[in-house]
């Protein structure tokens, strides 16, 4: 046998995906139609999938291969962005979609999946990814059954992809990990946090570590504090019942926002690879100070939106949403003030906030630098503080990076005004940026776990969050405490004011 692929140079720059089968549990669900199938079709369109590639969908709904394909075609029209569907191309893609209905607790389902994999691949080695896109309560059942029926092993690599949430608290996360570990090696478990698949989040690494000028400033000596905002202008959009069980802290902070924080604040890795990058992210997460119960009220604020009239429209409060109980204590807003207890960041406050029904949809990271040692323009500025330098990493929308600094206003006299220096993706890259799920699916199929969460990262995140969750659980709050369309409860502003800071208005 020829040991190496003599034509390998043609694969440089593009990920090699081996012949593969993707098995999606929960294939009739929201994620499949909104994200997975559009991402797979786009990858197929771009020629990124291998010639031999199959999808096997499963859920309890009784579809045939044909009716499953018809449903996906219908929904693709609604959810595929910036690409027109070519019917001939769809026809070729659809042939790769297969479906097996069945109950995830029934071993017969797994035997049928195994038989279908053999039938489709003709016994030729294919890697298999099992994608758990079901309700989280089914995760343990699914991985147990994969192990018991032997589908976790095969003639090529077998992996499992797990969507968030990984548990609803530390104990349940550990329990789920026990099931996962019994069936798969850690290297074959791909825990998705789709924020890490976003181009703008990946670009934080390029920005920090491919440029020599920013990193020297990236520490307690120059950084005053950091603000991370993930605001949504919408409410729970019919997901009230689900959201009532989750809340903002679990839904956003424990996973997405702590991962973004780790990306912004981690140490440089020795080389770009799954091991070193994830090691540094995990180290950072482990360095976040864990609050004692009595410290929580000083460092965390929660809220729930009430009804308001915004732009001429009457918006319901959370308790008026469908599926939500009238006395719900669910937090639709969370703000926390974290500290990273390591050499680089000691004493630098990190403020994280997320919420629903805030004034606009925006996710960004603002690094506020310390003021110049002496304000030489104080007399001219009338003793007003000069606005601080800000580095804004805009994750969505209007993706880009901007730096705010002081400039002299044109004209006589020395009047200062903050101005912006802006990098906008659209200015430099006209091309579309891939959806996070395109990147992550490709990585999972190609066996690159760099952008996926490791077990120790899940554990470290829950350890940060648990004291806050426990404290909030033990208290009854006077909700609602902020109006829809505002930036959250006033207690949140007070939390920053205690440190002499204030929230930005993104």
């Amino acid at each position: 046998m020829v040991d190496v692929n003599p034509f390998e140079d043609a694969l440089q720059g593009s990920r090699k995906i081996p012949p593969s089968v993707l098995v999606i549990f929960g294939a009739s669900g929201d994620l499949t139609k909104r994200k997975l199938v559009p991402a797979l079709y786009r990858l197929f369109h771009d020629g990124r999938l291998p010639n031999s590639f199959f999808v096997i969908g499963n859920s309890r709904t009784e579809f045939t291969d044909d009716t499953f394909r018809e449903k996906q075609r219908e929904e693709l029209g609604e959810f595929l962005k910036d690409l027109e569907i070519d019917e001939e191309e769809w026809g070729r893609f659809a042939k790769r979609l297969h479906y097996i209905p069945g109950n995830m607790k029934d071993p017969a389902l797994y035997n049928a999946i195994g038989a279908r994999i053999d039938e489709l691949t003709g016994g030729v080695p294919h890697e298999v990814c099992f994608y758990l896109s079901t309700q989280p309560s089914f995760y343990p059942v699914a991985v147990d059954m994969l192990r018991e029926t032997g589908l976790n092993k095969g003639n090529a690599q077998r992996r499992v992809v797990v969507e968030k949430p990984i548990g609803h608290d530390l104990d349940s996360a550990r329990e789920l990990e026990r099931h996962l570990e019994a069936a798969f090696d850690e290297s074959d478990i791909y825990r998705i946090d789709h924020y890490l698949g976003k181009e703008t989040v990946q670009n934080i690494l390029a920005f920090r570590f491919a440029n020599g000028i920013f990193e020297p400033l990236w520490n307690r000596r120059y950084v005053d504090h950091i603000q991370i905002t993930a605001a949504e202008s919408i409410g729970v959009e019919g997901r009230g019942a689900y959201y009532q069980e989750t809340g903002a802290l679990r839904d956003m902070v424990q996973n997405h926002m702590l991962q973004v924080m780790a990306t912004v604040m981690m140490e440089p890795y020795t080389r770009f690879g799954a091991g070193p990058v994830r090691d540094e992210r995990a180290k950072l997460l482990r360095s976040i100070r864990i609050f004692k119960p009595e410290e929580v009220p000083q460092h965390a604020v929660c809220g729930q939106y009430g009804p308001a009239r915004v732009g001429g429209e009457d918006l319901p409060g959370f308790r008026q949403e469908d599926g939500v109980t009238p006395d719900s204590q669910t937090r639709t807003y969370a703000a926390v003030n974290l500290f990273v207890d390591n050499w680089r960041w000691s004493g630098v406050p990190v403020y994280i906030r997320t919420g629903k029904r805030l004034p606009k949809r925006v996710t960004d990271v603002a690094i506020q630098f310390r003021a110049a040692p002496k304000n030489m323009f104080a007399t001219i500025a009338g003793d007003r503080d000069v606005a601080p330098n800000l580095m804004i990493l805009r994750i969505q929308p209007d993706e880009g990076i901007s730096l705010r600094f002081q400039s002299k206003r044109p004209g006589s006299g020395m009047q200062l005004r903050p101005v912006g220096m802006d990098f906008n993706y659209g200015t430099s890259f006209g091309t579309r940026t891939p959806e996070a799920y395109e990147t992550l699916l490709l990585d999972a199929l190609g066996g690159d776990p760099t952008l996926f969460i490791r077990k120790d990262m899940v554990e470290a995140s829950w350890q940060v969050i648990m004291p806050i969750l426990d404290s909030w659980q033990d208290n009854k709050f006077d909700f609602p405490n902020y109006d829809a369309g505002t930036w959250g409860p006033k207690e949140s502003d007070a939390m920053l004011a205690r440190h002499g800071h204030q929230w930005r208005r993104p």
Partner: protein, 360 residues
């Protein structure tokens, strides 16, 4: 030319550009829905002809700039020996899917003749956007030998030509490539990437590489008489990657093996020729034939008692604008291209066609 020679002051063009954007800015609504002046490089296109050539270049710009917004400098070389040089500025805008804001790029037209081209370098030098890459596209590589254009090509970080444009004249142009700029690319080479990718993907599976152990011949089916440059590139790449060197005629050798490799003329009755430049490629082994072709839609295997034929699909040829967009993004040297260029030229100069047209 008796009339006063027209000259272009680059400073004036830059001022006109500023005025253009100031005017555009006034007409924009808000920061969210206004215009974005986008630029990630300087893109120089050199065309010969008349206004129709500029229209053609503009149409291409409209596509290419969506991926890589740039300051576009279109150089039109008209017939004649007048030495005037005219310049004008304009903008192209589009609204990305789902965006409220229009993205705009600026375009400078430099209108001259071959004789007037000697004035181009000074103007282009001033118009190049500072600190960003500069790419020159000159489909007709002969234009790069014109005084003025040649010097301007030296200002570019990359020069892109298209050997397929030249037909048999490739023989004259290829050897001159090193003169065209520090990094030269060829769209004809880019066009084979679908085939290269399909082959690389297929042979990435170790079991599939068994065929390469007893490989007997490689045939690239192309147009008769003289192969397309794309076909020459592909055959040179295949044999070079496998470690073979051309011995004589169809014979290629390496230390422990010999194969027959060359072109086969596409027949008129060939089914559904997707592209006459490269219709298909056959790898023929002792009992297996592997066929790469755009025509097939799915990987298929036909078994007979004595042999099997595997057909591997190749993605359809991408439009030139897609290839050019990628050229604008690649800053490093194309080492694989450079490595196989010599063998390609020899294959093109002395093409050898298989006389027999049946694989077995």
């Amino acid at each position: 030319m008796n009339a006063a020679r027209e000259v272009v002051q680059p400073e004036r063009l830059l001022t006109q550009l500023e005025s253009l954007w100031t005017e555009f800015g006034k007409s924009g609504d808000s920061a969210e829905s206004g215009l974005l002046r986008a630029c990630s490089l300087t893109w120089i296109t050199v065309v010969e002809g008349d206004d129709a050539s500029v229209t053609e270049a503009d149409a291409m710009l409209a596509d290419v700039m969506r991926m890589n917004p740039a300051r576009a400098i279109v150089v039109l070389l008209r017939q004649g020996d007048e030495r005037g040089l005219k310049g004008s500025v304009s903008a192209q805008c589009w609204r990305p899917f789902g965006s409220k804001r229009q993205v705009c790029i600026e375009r400078v037209l430099l209108d001259t003749t071959r004789a007037g081209a000697c004035d181009l370098p000074a103007v282009i030098r001033a118009l190049i956007v500072a600190d960003l890459p500069t790419v020159m596209f000159c489909r007709n590589a002969h234009l790069l030998t014109i005084p003025g254009v040649k010097e301007a090509s030296g200002l570019a970080d990359r020069v892109v030509v298209d050997m397929a444009w030249h037909g048999a004249e490739c023989r004259d142009v290829w050897p001159r490539m090193p003169e065209f700029g520090s990094l030269v690319s060829d769209l004809a080479w880019d066009r084979i990437r679908g085939y290269r990718g399909a082959m690389a993907q297929y042979f990435d599976t170790p079991a599939n590489r068994e065929l390469l152990k007893d490989l007997r011949s490689v045939r690239v089916v192309t147009r008769p008489e003289r192969p397309a440059p794309e076909a020459a590139y592909l055959l040179a790449w295949i044999l070079g990657s496998l470690g073979y060197q051309r011995a004589n005629g169809l014979e290629w050798r390496k230390a422990d093996a010999t194969v027959r490799a060359g072109f086969r003329a596409m027949r008129e009755d060939e089914p559904n020729p997707a592209d006459p430049r490269i219709h298909l490629v056959d790898f023929i082994g002792a009992r297996e034939t592997l066929r790469f072709t755009v025509a097939a839609r799915e990987l298929s295997v036909t078994e007979t008692a004595s042999a099997s034929e595997i057909v591997v699909p190749v993605p359809a040829l991408e439009p030139d604008t897609a290839l050019l967009s990628d050229e604008m993004m690649v800053e490093h040297r194309r080492r694989t291209f450079e490595k196989h260029l010599g063998a390609t030229v020899r294959l093109f100069e002395e093409p050898v066609y298989f006389a027999d047209e049946q694989p077995h």
